[in-house]
Amino acid sequence: MPEETRPDVGNESERDPITGSSLSFPYMISAVLLMASLGWALYDEYYATRPWKDYQHRFVAVYSSWLKKNLPKQDSAEKAVKNSDTYKKLQAALDAADKAAGPDFDRINKELALLATRKSVVDDWFQSRRGELGAKVYDMENAGSQSSHDSQAAAIQKFKDEILTKTVPLENGQGEEKLSYNYDQMEKEYNRLKDRKNDLLSQQAALLRPSSEARKRRDDYMADQLVGLTRQQMQGLIDKMDHFDFDIKQINVPEGNLVDRCESCHVGTREPVVLTRRDVGPLSKDGKSGVEDGSRAFTTHPNLELLKIHNPDRFGCSPCHGGNGRATSSVEKAHGKNEHWLYPMYSPANREAGCNQCHSSDLVVRLAPTLSGGKELFRWRGCMGCHRMEGFDAEPERLFNITQQIKALETDKADAFRNASRMEKQADSMSGNAAAKMNQTAQNMRVSMSRVDSRIEELDTESKNLLQELKKVGPSLKEVRMKLRKEWIPVWIENPQHFRPGAKMPTFRLEPDEVKAISAFIWQSGVQGPMDNATGGDPAHGKDLFETRGCMACHSMGEDADKVGGYFAANLTREGEKTNINYLVRWIHNPRQRTLPYSPTLHRDITPADYQAKNMPFVFDLDHTKSPVDGHEMQVEQQTIMPNLRLNMGEVRDIAAYLMTKKRPDAETAKIYKDASYMDDPKLKAQGLKLVRNYGCAGCHEIAGMEDESRIGTELTNEGSKPIERLDFALLTRDAEDGVEVLGPNKGKDVAPWYSQKGFFERKLAEPNLFDQGKTKTHLEQLKMPNFNLDKTDIRQLTTFLLGSVDPTMPPSFFYKPADQRHDIQEGWWIIKKYNCQGCHVVEIGQHSILMDLPKYQDPDWKEQLPPMITNEGARVSPDWLVRFLKNPSLAAGHGEAENDKDGVRSYLKVRMPTFYLSDNEVRKLVRFFAAVSYQPEPYIQAKVEPLTPAEQAMARALFTSKEAPCLKCHATGVPAHDAKATAPNFLLAKERLKPGWTDRWLLNPALISPGTSMPSGLFKREGDRWVFNGQTPPSFNGYTGDHAELLVRYMFTLTPDEQRRLVGAGGGGGTR
């Protein structure tokens, strides 16, 4: 603004506020603020959003000081090893080898150096020439016309023929020479020098071999002797920390679209030492027991075995742990605990949930006991009765698929035959070649359909298998009329926990009217049939049998503190109150016996009248499974897990009599079991049917007319990745979000917010109707899930399993779906768990069976009565034999009760291997399981055993019966008088049953294979490269150079019944004890 236009110049009070004022001060302030915000932005960019930098600096400090602290310790340990004689000897050998190689090694080195001077010149010369030639050849190959091609070819020839001259150092180092070469000569010289160099290098390597072998021997010795790292290795780590790269540490697995940067903060995870929390982080607030500036994030991975199987370079971190592997800006985000992140890191209690994404087909996941426990609970408590879960209870679906397949194949076959006939008719109207061709095609079509028949046959077998494998979690309710005391039913239904604390059946929240209606329905839909007469049992003997035959591997007896036995099946303390003794006898005699067979195709029970109509005897069992009505497979067994113990009728009656004594005094029970005549009211039946359907009883029980009911619950296969919005927290949503506890002792108090899958599952499992709280619903609208009375551990295990049941985020190539023998192990576990094999047997090394922990079997005499450990079964027995044994453990040829009333191998044991009536499929899976666990090759080819010469036989017999190795003292022989004291199987079984290799190893060291066995160890000692008997050998052995153990094995495998009888008769060995 020009000065002269301002009339008020000089008058301060009248200065124009716009033209006369300065904005310097606001500008200064704004500029300062702008610079400050810029500074803040830079700080934010470099540090605030990159917290891992601080972690790395702290880790380097903490780890370096740890290494330096531990260096002297490792150093002195290393020195101790170095001072040992062996090490010194190895070091001397190394020095000697080095010295021996020395002069030649130096000479070759010198030659190599001289060669290199010539080679580098020739290489440059030739390679540049070759490059030029390559370009010319390319031009020629891509020439536009033949003439251009030819002229370029001529030019190339000229190029190659051109002679060039170059001064080149001599190979011996004495001066230079002038070379005049054309292209080919140059190439020849180039190749000669290359060959010469390789030759010299291989000479050098050969020269160094003795010394490098000596060095390896020395270093191996060091590694064996020294726990931890050597000084040099430690120093290497210290140097690494001194030159640490402060940057994002990232694992990238393109196959899984995986980028995990966890190790940016968890820097120490894969260090080759063991860093515990104490080593790297503060444990207590006083700072005394930890490291300053340390962090729990710095420990090495606590489970190295797990990490070894799952190499992080291949699997990353987040597929197992959850969280957001890409995030680096805060702990919260990296662990995926921020809102909306779909895969938050699993909390420590449910950590094993992460295994299930890839291990969903395993029932038993080694190294993940919590998850395995959850899966087993899910199966054992029958969750899949209401909730579909991929892999669990798959038999009904497969059965349905197979039926459909059979139908489709039969249609295909009929179509093909129709087409074939049509073609033949067409051929009739044709002539010559065409007709012949058409006829041939028609015939081929028929022939190819003959293969379909074999497929159908196979599917039929499969469906028979499946019917045999189908089991229900609860007992059949078709037989209640025969089985139960009528008044007991409503008492049980109202709350099974009242009758049997710890019962497997959950508690439904039923109203008294509902209990009545359901009882009436069940009672009236029961069938009637013949039963055995159960008079004259001896309860005392029955008790003895119950405790020794193996019943207690599954069943328990006694309540509260007195409870003894297995968890797998019912507690029988009050059995006498509920059961009809006649039915009980039939049940114990053969639990699989059915009153009427059920036809899945006709959807009804087949009655004797149906058989009569076809003039067939009313016989149905596993050998007679076809329906008389439509010829399809029927269910001929009870769908129970309980096996047949092959007891004789006397024993059965004794046990039944004993169980009938297990009840409360009549005076007490009279008050509980009230009149139940209403159960015969037909009006209640219809009402009951509705309720039974509503509560999904058919999920666990076989109920007349409800065999094909579908599951009533929601599918849980991907429950862990269900969006939180789909979980109905109902009126408790706000409490969950705000962290107000609604259950247990902390009810009403502030806890961590639980609006998460974990929070939902845990509370729902503890109180299934929790989310009905405050809702107005009619009784039938309310949540149906019954209360399973789970304890804290159960809930944790089940929650872990549910959290892990996710829609996979990784591609299928990451899943554990092995195609080799490991697959057999996966499948086998389902059978092992299904039939509770582990109740009697040790299947897995380190596992305890139920029996071995019972008080009775703590006595040394009873320990010998334990069923065998089968950790090594696949190596021990022939698979062919095992198939036979599993099908019928008595190994008897016929079906007669008397001949089956024994154990095929260990007849001396009181406990008995029952008949499980396994399907062929299950037997196959089990046999393959045992083979796979013991690393046995498939298919099995029996090893050949060399026959004995008469001399050898005499020697072996002498040893077999000698005083020092009285084999027959313990081993059974089949002679009753002798076998009364036997504690080991009959040798006659060996040939069929055992594998010679295993038998040999067993003889040498039985305690290694089966700790605690009564078979003595140390029978043989090593002498040169053979095993000889460790004691007085019979005189005939003088001069024998063979292996004594092997001789005995061959003898056992060729032992005949006659020979054994002779030996027993002669009082061979300890038979005369």
Partner: protein, 311 residues
């Protein structure tokens, strides 16, 4: 009163501009009007005293004798604008450092979020969907808003008010703007942000946003109030209502314009086409508040019901 709920809404990073808008819009409206009223007073003085008009062209207060009549854009305007630019930069930087972009869950076609809200500047449009058919609220009305604003210069025949704040000389324009922008646009954004909860249900401020809320709001069309079920009847009553609405609203607007000498003068300068266009846009604009009130008080759904279009 659920303070937690209120805090959750106001503290969401997404809602920062709307919370700021709650304070900034009234402030600047007041600030602008204050200057306009002050200037009106000055204009009055200037008009009364012809002497003063010779020396003072600046129609802005405060004014003192001796102050410059005019100032140059550079440096006097630009230096203030530049200062403002710096301050806005600082605010934006601090904002971007302290609040991260509010990411939500990955999209899932089988599970849409609830409430599912448009970006804040479109919440007004989304709220309009409650009152009109999608083609009306989503296509016709937004287009009319834009076309209407483009048409303003062509029917605005008032030459006054350029370069200074004034209320008196642009009373009609200012009031129409205040109604259209503050009442119809801003308040709809505020309703969309603070009032509409899960299921787009009306929650008063401080009421808990319950995802399981159950409300009973059966909507009725105009013919339903009279029990008309015949299609022709429906169309006739709808058209009649619309015609009546147009006539009443248009008459009221006309009367209002005529009630003031200044506006009357401006009106007299307009051609018939200009005036008709103005009336069309004003009547259409009035549809929204009328429909809103009908919907919120009477659960009124459509006025005109035909098989082809509903209004």
């Amino acid at each position: 009163m659920d303070w937690g709920q209120l805090w959750r809404i106001t503290s969401t990073p997404d809602n920062v501009p709307i919370v700021a808008l709650l304070f900034l819009i009234p402030f600047y409206t007041w600030y602008g009007l204050r200057q306009a009223f002050a200037n009106d007073k000055l204009i009055e003085e200037l008009e009364k005293n012809p002497e003063m008009t010779k020396t003072h062209h600046r129609k802005t207060l405060p004014w003192k004798p001796g102050w410059a009549q005019e100032v140059h854009v550079w440096p006097f305007l630009l230096r203030v604008e530049f200062l403002a630019a710096i301050i806005v930069t600082v605010i934006l930087m601090v904002w971007s450092i302290t609040l991260n972009a509010p990411l939500e869950e990955p999209s899932n076609p089988t599970l849409t979020m609830n409430p599912s809200k448009a970006p804040w500047y479109f919440l007004g449009l989304q709220e309009m969907l409650v009152y009109f058919d999608p083609w009306m609220a989503g296509v016709v009305l937004p287009s009319l808003i834009i076309v209407g604003m483009m048409a303003i210069p062509y029917f605005d025949t008032n030459p006054l008010g350029n370069g200074y704040y004034t209320y008196k000389q642009r009373k009609f324009a200012i009031l129409t703007f205040c109604f259209g922008f503050l009442v119809l646009w801003i308040s709809m954004i505020v309703i969309g942000t603070f009032i509409r909860g899960p299921g787009w249900v009306w929650f008063w401020p401080g009421q808990t946003w319950d995802h399981n809320i159950v409300v009973y709001q059966p909507n009725k069309d105009l013919p339903d109030f009279f029990g008309i079920t015949n299609a022709w009847g429906k169309a006739v009553i709808g058209l009649a209502f619309l015609g009546g609405f147009g006539a009443v609203t248009g008459g009221a607007i006309h009367k209002w314009i005529m009630s003031d000498d200044f506006s009357k003068k401006v009106y007299q300068k307009m051609s018939l086409l200009q005036y008709a266009t103005l009336q069309f846009f004003l009547i259409t604009m009035m549809l929204l508040p009328v429909k809103m009130i009908l919907r919120l008080t009477l659960n009124f759904k459509y006025i005109l019901v035909t098989p082809w279009l509903n209004l």
